[in-house]
Structures are given as C-alpha cells and as structure tokens.
C-alpha cells in the first residue's frame, strides 16, 4: 500500500510539472522571434517616375555584416563563388557577361540583373519567382551551377569560421547563425544599395538644369511613344510583368530558343504567361549591358531600337534613338 501511495504522489507531481511546463511553453512560443520579411517600397507619389528617397532606416551594423557575407566565398561549395562574383559592385552590380559563370565555371541561363536598387523591384529574378530579396538568396545558394551549396553546409562553414559566430551573436542574439539571419543580413545590405540623386531624379525634384535638352526630348519620346507605361514607378520598371514582343515576335527572330525564354510561364505554367518577364528597372541602365533576359543585346542603342521595334512596331530614327539614350543616361547615379 505504502508503495502505491508513493508512486501515485510521484506521478501526480510529474503531472503538475508537465502542466507548468506546458504553460511556460505557450508563453515562450508567443515570444518566438519573427524577423520580418522586407516590405516592398511604399510609394505615395503618384507620378509615373518618382525619385529614389534619399534616406533609409537600416541597421548599419547589419548592413556591414551583410556586405561581408555578400563578398563571402564560403557560401559556395568550394569557396570560390560569392554574391559579388556575378554582382560586381564596382561594375554597377553586374558582371557584364551574357550569362554569369558560377561554380566550376558553369554558366547560367539568364543575364544577371544588377543588385543596385534591387529592393525596389516588386519581385526578384527575371521570372519573378522570389517575392523578397530573402527568398531570392535560396536560388544561387542551392543552384548546382551557381554556388552548389546548401543552408546546413553554409551554416556549418560560417559557424566554424573565426569571425561570424561573434558577429551573429551580437547582431542576432536569439538566433545566432541561421538560414534566416544570414538571409536577413544579406538582404539588408542589398536594401542599402539604392542609387538616389541621379540627374533625372534631381530634375524631377525641380532642378530644371539637371538634364540637358536632348535628354528632355528623350523623356518626351519615352512618354509619347508609351515606354513609360511599363517603365514607371520609382525604379523606372521592376514593378510588373510584361510580354517580350508585343507587336513583333521577338522569339521568332531569335536563332536559338531556350527554356528560359518562356519566362514567367516556367513558374506559373499558365499559357498566358509565356514570354512574360519582369519589366527591368532602367536605373543605371547605361552601365548594365548586355541587355534583356537573354543578354543578347550588347549596346544600349540597340536595346532601345529593339524595344521600339518589338513592343511598338516602330523603327526609331537615329536622332530619336540618340534622344532616348540621352534620357536614359540621366538615370545613372553616382555609384560607390
């Protein structure tokens, strides 16, 4: 009898402890750290093209950590490729190649877009398969032709490194080195890569002399021809999907068609999304050659002419092309 009593009391004690444990657990679970994904750019300005805001509210330490990670080759399997390998910050955030070279010199399928102002895009990648900069990072990390790594591998390497554990411990005290914290740091850095105060932005802000006459004419053409209906917003594009080849069939004229040419269709598998691509932002477009998703167009002049031909059915005169080019160049800001 004595034994049974003792056992029963012991069991009831365990039961009480369990209930207390459950309560604490519920309390703790409501305190789980939630790193907010980046919010898209909230633009209250209703004009077609709006200037880039000068000030941002970002944690500078995290930006610096992100910058370090951006140049970190340990994100790739054999420690050879970093984000900066393809998104050269000294070359307007691109590598100038048709398609980029990843790990073991493997090549990609689409032209690498610039990392500058990428946070102003409503989605990432040409086919818009990532909603946020954070989600975008999964792509190159896991792609066998880019970095060919995985999150567990990356986390293991960074944890084993000399500097990162302390940095993360300070900046992400609750998380440490995790997939989320690494992504957040890199994305935060990328968010800092805005290029405000281009001549055209200054013009929009009222400095009439910020751009010359030719550029002004170009802007008129840009609007009058209808380019501005797609290339609008703060990033002069980057906020919608558009079909490549509206009036003339771009892909019929192309010699080699790849799977990547199907664009948005590869993500949604809807017929109406064939040949749809994210309309690229035109900021710093002067510096981000070659152009279009396939990188087959080497000069800005050619890109402008092709756009007019395929999207409008217009063959621009040399003069018109020069004007539009002059306008586009005013979108180039000081990069550092």
């Amino acid at each position: 009898m004595y034994f049974f009593k003792k056992t029963f009391i012991f069991l009831s004690f365990i039961f009480c402890s369990y209930i207390i444990y459950l309560q604490i657990n519920i309390l703790l679970s409501s305190q789980v750290e939630n790193v907010a994904p980046s919010s898209n750019y909230s633009n209250k300005n209703t004009q077609a093209i709006t200037p880039i805001p000068a000030k941002q509210n970002l944690n500078k330490a995290i930006v610096l950590l992100g910058r370090r990670l951006f140049f970190e080759t340990r994100l790739s399997k054999n420690d050879t490729v970093s984000c900066a390998s393809c998104h050269n910050l000294h070359n307007a955030g691109v590598d100038g190649l048709v398609v980029s070279a990843g790990i073991h010199a493997q090549v990609g399928t689409m032209n690498a877009p610039t990392v500058f102002n990428s946070s102003l895009n409503f989605k990432q990648f040409w086919d818009g398969r990532a909603n946020t900069l954070e989600d975008q990072i999964d792509g190159p990390i896991n792609s066998p032709s880019e970095m060919d790594s995985s999150w567990p591998e990356v986390i293991e390497k960074l944890t084993a490194s000399g500097e990162y554990p302390a940095l993360f411990k300070t900046l992400y005290p609750k998380q440490g080195i995790t997939e989320q914290s690494i992504k957040n740091a890199i994305a935060t850095f990328e968010r800092s890569l805005l290029t405000p105060d281009s001549p055209f932005d200054l013009y929009l802000k009222g400095q009439q002399n910020a751009i010359n006459k030719e550029a002004k004419k170009g802007y008129q053409l840009f609007t009058g021809l209808g380019c501005i209906s797609c290339h609008q917003g703060v990033n002069v594009g980057g906020n919608m999907f558009g079909k490549m080849g509206v009036i003339h069939d771009y892909f019929a004229d192309k010699k080699i068609i790849t799977e990547a040419d199907l664009g948005r269709f590869n993500i949604t598998h809807k017929n109406e999304d064939k040949y749809l691509f994210k309309v690229p932002g035109l900021r710093n477009v002067e510096l981000t050659a070659p152009y279009f998703h396939d990188g087959q167009t080497r000069t800005l002049k050619s890109a402008v002419q092709k756009m007019a031909y395929y999207q409008l059915g217009v063959e621009l005169s040399e003069e018109e092309t020069r004007f539009i080019k002059a306008f586009l160049k005013t979108l180039t800001a000081k990069l550092d």
Binding site: Y41, N45, T46, G224, G226, G233, M240, F241, G313
Partner: protein, 1068 residues
C-alpha cells in the same frame, strides 16, 4: 487489539500527500476554467479586419490606376504585398490556436488564400494589359498627330482619324460598347482608304490601326479584369474564419462553465465528508469507553494469576496485589512504603541488581528470575517482568513488576544440572571427540577432546547447525549435503554408522581426517538425535601418503630413464652416421690390404654397434610406450626374400641350410607392419643361426586362423642347435636374460632381441612360445594378425629365395648422372658425407645449412632432387618443404622431389613428412644403397621401377579414365559431376575467398576440403595437389602466403573447367 489503531494520528506524510493531491486537483480544475488563446483569437479577428480594409484599398488603387490618378504601380504592389503578408499571419495564428485545426477552419483558410492568390494573379494580368493599353494610347496620340500633320494626306483619311481621336480621348481611353462600334466603323473606313495612299503612309496607317485595335482589345480586357478584381470577395472566407473562431471561443467558455460546476460539486462533497468525519469521531469515543472497561476486567484477571507490585523510582513498594502478600507472607500494610529489599534473599550478587536498575533507568523492560525470602525466612523463586512507566513529559514515573512463582521449577532444574555436570566430566575425560546433534541438526553436545581436535569450543557450537561448519566435505573435497552425513543417516535409519574415511574441518579451516562412528540417540523408542564419536587419523594418513610418494618417485625415475633412452636416438645415430659413411668413403679410396682389413672391421663393428643401439632403443621405446606400428600394404613373399637374403649369407658361411616354407594359400599382399615383422623374423632366424653349429634352420609359415579379410599367420623357426634348458625357457623372453651368462661371452648380443621380439608380437596382438630339447634344437613359434587388402590382386608366383630385387639393378644404373642435388643438412659431418657420397657418383651437390638457405637456393636454380634434413635451426625441413611447395604452386612449376633425411625413427615424423609434401624418406644413418635407391626412385627420368609407389608423374589436369574407373564406368554420373562442378566452381571460390578475407582458418580448411573431395572424384590431380598444399599452409595462418596460392587456384580451376567443358562437348 485492532481498535487501538483508530487513535493513531494520521502521519504528517500522509496528510501532506493528501493536501498536495487536493491542491493538484484544484489547480488542474482552475486551470481549465480559463479560456485559452484569447489573445490569439483577438489577433486573428483583428488581422481579418485588416485584410478586409486592405482589400478595399486595393480596389481603390486599381480604380486610381485605371483613371490615371496613379501613374505607377508601386503603391498597388505595396498593398498586394501587405495583403499577402496578412494572409500569412492569419494562417500562422490560426494554426497556433489549439484544437482549431478542424476541417471548416482549414477550408476557410484555403479559400481565403486561393481567393487572394486569384486576385493577385488577376492584378498582375491587369497591370500587364493596362500597360499595353496605355502604351498604345500614348502612341496612338503621337502617331495620329503625326499623320494628321501630313499635308499630303486627303481629308478623306483624316476624318476617320479625327473621329477616332474624339472617341478615344473623350472617354479618357475608357470607352463603352457603343464607342467600340464607332471605333470599328472608323477602322474599316481607314482600311478601305489605305489602298489609295503611298506605301510609307500606308505603313504608318496600318500601325495606327494595329494600335487602335490593341486599344480596343486591351481596353475590353482591362475592363473585364477590373470588374473581376473588384467583384472578388475576400469577406466571405474571412467571415467563415471569424465564425469558426467565435464558435471555438464559445466552446471554451462552455467548457470552463462545466469545470466550474465540477468544482462546486467537489466542494459540496468535501463538506459532506467533514460531517461524516465528525460523526465518526463521536462513534470512536464511545468505543474508547468500552475499551477502558475491558482493560479493567483484564487487570482483574491478571491479579488472579500473577504477583503484581508497583513501586516508585527508589524501589519503594506503592501497591501490591493479594497474591504478593500470600507468597511473601507479609501483610499489605507491612509491605507498602517499604523497599523491595525486605524480600532480598542474598542469593544474587550486587551486579545482578545493578544491571536490573540500569535497564529500568533506560526505560527498558526487564525480565529475570529472582530468588526472594519470605517473612518466614523461606526462599522462593519468581520469574519477574518489570515495566517502567512514564509521565506525559517523558520522565520515568514508576515501575510495575509482574511475577509468577517458579520455585518448584527451579528445584527440578538444579537436579538436572548436577546430572549434566557428571556427564560432562565423563565425556570430557575421554580420548575421543564426542558430539551430538538433534533431529534438526543442531549441536546439543561437544566434548573437550572434540574441542582439542577441531578448535571449536562447546559454547561456540551448541545450538547451532554444525554440519556446514565442520562436516560439509568428503575426503575428496566434494561438498556433502547435511542429509548425506553419517549422523543424519544414523538418525533416519536408526542404525550405527562407522567410517574410516571422513573429514572434519578445523576452526582455522584446515581439514582433519578422522575415523568416526555415529550412533542414533533414542528416547521412548523415538530417535531424538545422533551421537558421533571420532578420532584424528591424520598421522596415519600422513604415513600412508609418504609411502605412496616413494613409490611414485621410483616409477617416475624408471620412466624418465626410458624417455631418456628413447630420445637418445637422434644423438647416437648422428655420429654413427658419420662413422659408417666415412668408413664407406675410405673403403672406396685406394688402400693397402691391411688398411682395407682394418676398415672392414671398423665397418662391421659399427654395424654391430648400430644393431645393439637399435635393440636398446627399440626396447626403451617399448618401455616408454612410444613405439608405433605401420599399417600398410606389402608384398609378403618379397618381404621374406629380403629378410632371408643377408641371413642366408651368414648361414652359408656356417654351412647351414636355411629354408623357407611358404604355402601358396597365403595371399601375396598383406596389410600390417612389414618392418616389425622383418625385425622379428631376423631376430629369431639370427638367433637360430647363431646357436646352431650343424644342420639346418627352417622357417615355416602357415595359416592358423583364416578370415574373410584378415587372417592369423603362424611362423615356426626351428633349428638343430644347442637347445634351451627347461628352467631357462621360463625366463627367456624377459629382458636382459640370455640362456646363460656364459652364452653372452661366447655368442655376443645384448640379450634384448628375444625380449623385444616377444613384446612386439604381443603389441601386434600375437603370441610367442618355444619348444626346445637340450642339445637337439629349438622351435620358436609366433602368431601375428594381418589384414588382406580391400582389392584382391593376382597372387604372383612364389618368389625364389635367391631372387634379387629389381631395386638393386636400379642402383647400379648410372643413367642418371650429373644430377643437380640440393642437400639441406645442418650437421657438418653429415654435410660432408652427403657431399662426398653424391659428388663421387658425379652429381652436382649444393649444401644448405638450414631451411631458409635451402629455400633461397631453391629460388635461385632448379634442382633434380632435394634431400632435406628434418631438424635444422632457423627453419626445419617440414617448414622448408611447405614453403618450396607453395612457391612451386604459385609459379606453376613442376614439383621437385624432396626426400627427408632423418634420425627420427618415429612413425608420426614420417606422416608429417608426407603431409608436408615430401616424396620420400631415408632414415639416418644413411645407407648408401638406400640413399641412391630412393634418389633414383623419385626421379622422373629414371625408368620407373615396379616397386615404386611414389613416382611423381607430371600432374594431369583431369584424368578422365581414372575418374571413370572409380565410378564403375558410369559415364553419365561422371558427366553430371563434371557439369555440377562447372556450375558450382564460382561458388566454391567465392566461399574460399570469403574465408581468406575473414582470415578464418577453420572455415577455409573446410572449404578447401570440400573442393578437394570434388576434385578427387574428377581426378583433377593438379588442382587437388594445389589444394593439399594450401591445406598444409592454412594451419600456419600465413595469410600473405595463402593469397597467391588462391590466385593460382583460381587460374587452375579455370583451366580445369575449360578441359571439362571440352570433354563434355566431345561426348555430346
């Protein structure tokens, strides 16, 4: 006394556990009254509201974009993004709420998500389409202006363009169905007119039409999309969500109400229980009164029986009962107030009372027997129990003594004690140990002598079960259970038991051998125990042991001597080998007559000495039990002729006639030990010749008992010699006895010959006897058993005595000159001997001093034959042979004949030699003839001799005909075996490989053995030989050596399979 337990207070432990349980239960219930997840639910509802608001804002933005109030999509994108974020949050909080994962919530969440997804997808379409629409609108404006400003164009064309401008601009690019008709009409008009204008203008016009069509198309699409988007309802799934959450909330609420009810119920129950407890308490107090009454009655009963007194702490009597007064002879008044000392008898000493008072002072109960004195100075005994009592504060208050009168009992006890003491004196003066046990096995008696012998004192043992202390093992140290001891046996069977071989154990653990007698102890014809009387016999046993040891030592010395002699074999033979061999060599040189004579004497003396040594060694081997017998087939007539030949020469020298009578009925091939038979016959015939001066010596063989597969042969050796007197006949087969000591002087000999022969015959299962008449002659007869070989062969014609063996001719055949011979021998004398003997015959000889060097030489060049000493330093002959054989196997060479040279005359050495892969065997000292015989016998180039059994033919891959013969010409069976082998061979090899990899020698041996059996059935000699080699290497576990052998085996098996396949194919 059950009722008393009711008043035991509930222990603190029990009480606290009950309280703890109650609190636990209450806390669980109270915990359940709270409504959980309230915050989460509120949050969910707030999010739903946000989603609704955002939905409306998105609709608004879409209108703003459509009407050009917003010229970029940034704001719309932001709102869509926010909506997605809220949708995710709703999903997260819904899953966080416990018990809410039911179907309806999942469904409404899914519906909510898919509605949002659908809406976003429509918005994306709208953005694309609307951009195209605006694009065309901008361009239409630019292009139409350009066309209208062209002065070359007629107004006919400009009019519909004006119309289009009007329609499109007036509706701000948002036109209705009616305007579509106007547009279409204008377009068709333009199309008809376009044929009249220049190609450049036509191109412009066509582009204009295209963009107008685009405007119309995307205008419609945009309108439809806007309708769809604004019509899409997010509120419905949100409502459902809210409803489900509210329902859940209500449920929680209900549950908490129910728990509150339970709580109330519990409280009521608790109140009822308290009332019940109070009622119970009243009942118990009533019972208590009853108990008090009972107690009084009991006290009364006690007073009737016992002497009861009460005293204070100083021993002064405070109360007594009547019984006390009766026995003490005092009145109550005389005693109360007085000390107990008044009753003191003076019998007990001071310590007795001191210990009593000490016990009581500690608050303990005291029991004891006290002798008291009455008022009339008479003594009486009481058995008293004195109980101390306490105040409530824990201090002693008084004592109560309860006593009974035991005076009579005491008197009887005293009588008994005096009897006992007499008995003790008696037994303690005995010179034997005495002890007794009762039927339970407990010791009841133990005398002084027992104490002296075993070290235990009586006080240590009395009342204990002593079997396991002193009597638990027999003389061999085995454990004896109590039931098997002779004391218990005497109790059970009620008889005497005696034993001279018994063992008792001393207190210090040593064993004491004793002789013991156990007698049952009876009372009223019932056995009540057993008495054992024992005496120490260790001295006697020690003497016996000394005697035994002396005998053993003597036997051991004798055996050691025999061992020594047996082992002398090698030591003695080696120098003898030198002497005889060197003499042989010396005789071959050019000598003068005198020298030759001396050397002949040396040689014959050496042989005599060798014979004597052989006799002594044989004798000692027999003594040492180290003699082994062969069991082989041999040609009986041939053996006889070989035996007779040297004796015949001696007989002829003495002009004696030596005849042999061999009846034809005796099979020519027998199985047994030919060497020993030859030895016996030689000894007996030699004796006969030796002791016969004139006449004849006759050997007669007859069949004594004939069996189917064995028979007993009788050999009679009769002579016409000096005969043996009767008294000598009796001892003639004993060792070291000759007919007369004078005989040894006259005839020589060790006197061991007959003894050895007789012992050999006995060991072979036969008998020896003799008949003799002094001066007339003797007949020695013996019998011996021989088996017949399994296959009876043709009996060859009777051999004539003078027939010479074909061996001899082989020896003289010098066709095999210039052989390349390797001699492995460590002894320098033997090295020289072998070298000279062989080089003399023209052979090329290389000497290796040990096995390692022999192997090295073998690796460097091929040899025709190898002579291998058995015992060598570094690596012995057996090991060297194994290594050589494995090298040959791995390089697929033909085997070089290896002949063992050894002074080890033991049979197991011979077996070892053959199993190691040796082909022949010569014993030392080397007999020149034997040496060359053996060498030529084992050389392939020598024409084969009919006596050779061990010819090394080149091994065949598969000897089909022999295999067929073995299977009694059953071709079908053999073919089946062959194809089975082909199929299974891979499996065999796999198993062998596995065993080798696992380094499992036992398994490997089994596998090799199995495969060997199969190969021998197929007569696959080459593979079989290889398997034998591997088998020999396996026990040494030289895995590195085995691996190349296995590789060779695999190759050989491949060859064998190919051969078998060819054979099978040719048969079909």
């Amino acid at each position: 006394m059950k009722f008393i337990s009711i008043y035991r207070p509930i222990s603190i432990y029990r009480l606290s556990s009950i309280i703890f349980l109650a609190i636990t239960l209450l806390s669980i219930l109270i915990y359940n009254t709270y409504i959980k997840n309230l915050e989460l639910e509120d949050n969910l509802l707030a999010l739903s509201k946000q989603a609704s608001t955002l939905n409306l804002e998105i609709n608004q933005s879409i209108f703003f974009n459509q009407f050009g109030i917003h010229q970029n999509y940034d704001n719309l994108n932001y709102q869509v993004f926010e909506l997605e974020k809220i949708q995710r949050k709703i999903n997260d909080s819904a899953t966080l709420i416990q018990d809410l994962n039911n179907a309806s919530i999942t469904h409404s969440l899914d519906a909510f998500k898919s509605n949002i997804d659908k809406k976003i997808s429509l918005i994306e379409q709208l953005k694309s389409h609307y951009a195209l629409f605006r694009n065309s609108a901008y361009f239409f404006h630019t292009l139409s202006q350009e066309i209208l400003s062209n002065h070359l164009l007629s107004n006919l064309i400009k009019t519909p363009i004006h119309q289009l401008q009007r329609v499109l601009l007036s509706h701000s690019y948002n036109y209705s169905e009616s305007s579509t008709q106007l547009i279409n009409r204008a377009i068709s008009k333009l199309q008809t007119l376009s044929s009249q204008i220049s190609s450049k203008d036509k191109k412009q016009l066509n582009l204009l039409i295209k963009h107008v069509q685009s405007l119309s198309l995307y205008g419609n699409k945009t309108r439809n999309l806007v309708n769809l988007i604004t019509a899409s309802q997010l509120s419905q799934p949100i409502d459902t969500l809210e409803r489900v959450v509210s329902q859940h909330y209500m449920l929680q609420h209900k549950k908490s109400l129910a728990v509150q009810k339970i709580l109330f119920l519990l409280l009521s129950l608790a109140s009822i229980y308290i009332v019940f407890l109070l009622f119970n308490l009243a009942k118990q107090s009533k019972k208590l009164n009853q108990v008090l009454l009972d107690l009084n009655n009991q006290q009364f009963a006690l007073n009737q029986h016992a002497i009861v007194s009460s005293s204070d702490l100083q021993g002064n009597i405070t109360a007594i009962n009547e019984k006390f007064c009766d026995i003490a002879g005092y009145t109550k008044e005389e005693l109360i107030g007085n000390s107990h000392k008044i009753l003191k008898s003076g019998f007990h000493d001071k310590d007795f009372f001191t210990s009593m008072w000490n016990t009581l002072a500690q608050g303990k109960v005291w029991h004891g027997e006290i002798k008291n004195k009455t008022k009339q100075n008479e003594f009486y005994w009481v058995s008293a129990t004195i109980v101390p009592f306490f105040h409530g504060t824990g201090e002693l208050s008084h004592y109560i003594a309860i006593s009974t009168d035991i005076t009579l009992q005491k008197r009887l006890e005293e009588q008994l004690l005096s009897n006992q003491s007499f008995m003790d004196k008696l037994t303690n003066s005995m010179a034997q140990g005495v002890y007794a046990i009762d039927t339970e096995g407990l010791c009841t008696f133990w005398n002084k002598e027992a104490e002296r012998i075993l070290g235990w004192s009586a006080s240590e043992l009395i009342g204990k079960n002593i079997h396991n202390l002193i009597h638990f093992q027999d003389t061999y140290g085995n454990h004896v259970v109590s039931e098997q001891s002779i004391l218990q046996k005497s109790i059970v069977n009620n008889t005497h038991y005696s034993s001279d071989k018994n063992l008792l154990t001393h207190k210090n653990g040593t064993d004491v051998p004793i002789s013991i007698t156990a007698v049952p102890l009876t009372e009223n014809n019932k056995v009540i125990g057993s008495v054992a009387v024992f005496s120490d016999i260790s001295k006697r046993l020690a003497n016996e042991q000394l005697l035994k040891q002396a005998i053993e030592t003597a036997e051991h010395a004798s055996r050691a001597k025999s061992d020594f002699l047996a082992n002398m074999s090698h030591e003695i033979r080696t120098p003898m080998n030198g002497i005889i061999g060197m003499t042989d060599l010396a005789l071959d040189t050019s000598l003068d007559k005198e020298q030759k004579e001396y050397l002949d004497i040396v040689k014959s003396s050496s042989f005599s000495l060798l014979n004597i040594i052989n006799d002594i060694l044989d004798f000692s081997k027999i003594e040492a039990g180290k003699l082994d017998f062969e069991y082989i087939e041999f040609n009986f007539p041939h053996l006889l002729s070989e035996t007779i030949k040297p004796l015949d020469i001696r007989a002829k020298q003495k002009d004696l006639l030596l005849t042999v009578h061999l009846p034809p009925a005796i099979p020519s091939t027998l199985v047994g030990d030919p060497t020993r038979l030859k030895q016996i016959l030689t000894n007996l015939l030699d004796n006969a010749i030796k002791f016969t001066q004139k006449g004849e010596v006759k050997l007669t063989v007859s069949i004594q008992i004939a069996g189917n597969n064995k028979s007993c042969l009788q050999f009679d050796i009769s002579d016409t010699g000096i005969g043996i007197s009767e008294h000598v006949q009796e001892s003639i087969f004993n060792a070291f006895s000759q007919v007369d000591t004078s005989v040894s002087r006259e005839y020589g000999g060790t006197g061991l010959g007959l003894s050895i022969s007789s012992q050999l015959i006995h060991l072979m299962g036969g008998e020896i006897w003799l008949k003799s008449v002094q001066d007339k002659g003797s007949t020695f007869s013996f019998t011996a058993w021989f088996d017949f070989p399994i296959q009876t062969k043709e009996i060859p014609a009777l051999l004539s005595i003078t027939q010479t063996s074909t061996d001899d001719s082989a020896t003289n055949d010098d066709s095999s000159k210039n052989l390349n011979i390797l001699v492995a021998e460590d002894n320098p004398i033997n090295q020289k001997l072998a070298f000279n003997l062989l080089t003399k015959k023209g052979h090329h000889v290389i000497i290796a001093a040990n096995g390692i060097k022999a192997v090295e030489q073998f690796k460097q060049q091929p040899f025709d034959i190898i002579l291998m000493d058995f015992q060598m330093p570094e690596m012995d002959g057996i090991e060297a042979t194994q290594v050589i054989r494995s090298i040959e196997a791995s390089t697929s060479q033909q085997q070089t004949p290896i002949v063992a040279m050894t002074a080890n005359a033991m049979k197991e050495d011979k077996d070892k030699a053959f199993s190691a892969g040796m082909d022949g065997y010569i014993s030392k000292p080397i007999d020149v003839k034997e040496l060359f015989n053996t060498i030529y016998k084992h050389l392939n180039k020598n024409p084969s001799q009919n006596v050779t059994k061990k010819i090394s033919l080149p091994l065949q891959i598969c000897n089909w005909n022999i295999a067929l013969k073995r299977l009694a010409d059953d071709t079908e069976l053999l073919e089946m075996m062959a194809s089975m082998f082909i199929d299974e061979s891979d499996n065999y090899l796999k198993k062998i490989d596995e065993a080798v990899n696992a380094q499992d020698s036992i398994r490997l041996k089994q596998e090799i053995h199995t495969l060997k059996g199969v190969c021998s059935t197929l007569s696959a000699d080459k593979v079989e030989q290889l398997l034998k080699t591997i088998e020999n290497v396996v026990p040494e576990k030289q895995w590195t050596e085995i691996k190349p052998l296995i590789t060779t085996l695999e190759q050989e098996i491949k060859i064998l399979i190919r051969a078998l396949k060819n054979r099978l194919a040719s048969h079909k």
